[in-house]
Amino acid sequence: MQTAKDDKVVNNGVNVAALFGAQEALKNAPEAAKFTWRSTVEWVDGTHSRSTIEGFYGLGAEQKHKKKFTFDADHPEVFAAEDRSATPVEIVLAGLASCLTAGVAAVAQARRIQLRSVSATLEAGMDVRGILGMDEDVRNGFDGIKVTYNIDADASPADIKAIVAQSQKRSAVYDIITNPTNVTVEVA
């Protein structure tokens, strides 16, 4: 399925050699493939909270990001809140967007297709009567998500579509959103 010549340099910044190497290494060490992602949150005030991400577990050991990352979340003024940051549902959209976009870069690299620019807009509908508890037939979450990609790359439209389709197929966040996931919430 190559559209670039073999001797052409394709660099989307993704180290696919390392990814394929990881597949080889993990084939005989499935335990090492078990990762645990973590995040902590502190309530600030009102609907404003701050999440911190630093450590995770994988490859058989505790790992740490290069630095601590923090993400704030809040609700907007139309929700009678302070709008100190984006809403949790918008952050979910950003999570999906990032996961799919990283996938586009990785798949393009593996298929030796040079990307020039990749952007997308995401839109998700939500009937707020769900979260307001006004109607049992209305769900809390999104009634659907629409992602529209704009990609300029050294490939045919069909090949670009194929990259985007493959990215969804191997996306963690896409899977989390489209399939049921168990969530257990306890109080210590």
């Binding site: 069909a158 194929a162 389709a165 969804q168 896409y174 899977d175 959103i177 399939n179 049921p180």
Partner: protein, 431 residues
Amino acid sequence: MRTTAVVIGAGQAGLAMSSQLAARSIDHVVLERGEIANTWRTERWDSLTLLTPNWQSRLPGFGYEGDDPDGFRTMPETIAFLERYAKNVSAPVRTHCRVRSVRRSADGYDVLTTQASWHCEAVVLATGAFNIAQVPAVAQALPPGIAQLTSAEYRNPESLPKGGVMVVGAAASGAQIADEIHRTGRPVTVATGEHVRAPRTYRGRDIQWWMDATGLNDERYDEVDNLRRARSLPSFQIAGYPDRRNIDLNALTSLGVKLVGRLAGIRDGKAQLSGSLRNLCELSDLKQNRLLDTFDEWAAKNGLGNAVDPRHRPEPTRVEASPPLVVDFAREGIRTIVWATGLRPDYSWLEVPVLDPKGNICHDGGVVTEAPGLYVMGLPFLRRRKSSLIDGVGDDARDLSAHLAEYLGAIRRKSPRHFSCASPTAQGREA
């Protein structure tokens, strides 16, 4: 009882291997738990026809000689074909002989059966790839009152309860079963995950003609990019109907079949479906179109431009704007679930440690390298893309019987006392 080789299974693979062993004068016996062509008799539905046209459903030295080369054999016709073949090659078949265990011994293998036990130097497993239905764990959460059966148990629409049916899985079996049931007036919902779409005919020729002519069916296991993936691909969503109609998702939804995503869970009497349906349909369309591109390139390169109709592409799979994510069995009147979710081979009787953690047999093109003298046939992409087709067992039998013969030669050179004295014809014709 002693013989040189034991072949387990008298389906097309076992019978083809028998013909090749006989051609090499290798003593052998074919052990069959039922009758010749057992699973074609006992584990297929009434209306099933082969997916490959008659001209292509051939065995070594035994092609189709009827007047409908482009037709598709029914189950009775397939069984009769295999019975004729077994007679034609004088296959030494022991019927109603179920294998209880296969074990290694000091100088070969011990095969214990419900009849005699056999000691031999080589064993060929021709027991098929699809013995045990894979029913997803969510089946346990099905509400009471809903009948469930697997594609191996399904026989005809009339034997199902009245009311709606959910068919889970849309490879060849699921698509055919959905098509057949829906046409009898029982509303069908198809829940599909990844699937492989293909048109029955393309540019005026049968898709199996293209697969054969382009050499795709002969593509070798050591030449293909991702062998693991190629071996686990679902079957083409096609049927062998006389009218050659398609049964892809567009054909099914045109009939009124309801299309939903992969069955992801069952909770409180409701099926939860994945929201990835649109992506899976697009991936399937892209894959189909890549296949058709390959056909077009081959046709152009081989100057077939005028011998085939102009190129075209099937309409993209139609998916509604918001496919249902939940199906309430009671509210939708669904009274039956058919699990068309695939089958796996049964090696429970194989007491030789050659299985991987997932229960699949480890082999190199059918040669079980960890157990010299042990061979396996009939698995998807065993040696070639066509390995699981009737048309594929012939070449695989030729290759593997050659390897087996060389193996026997090698062990005999090492220890001449292993040489078997029994003549092949006496062994083969024993009552």
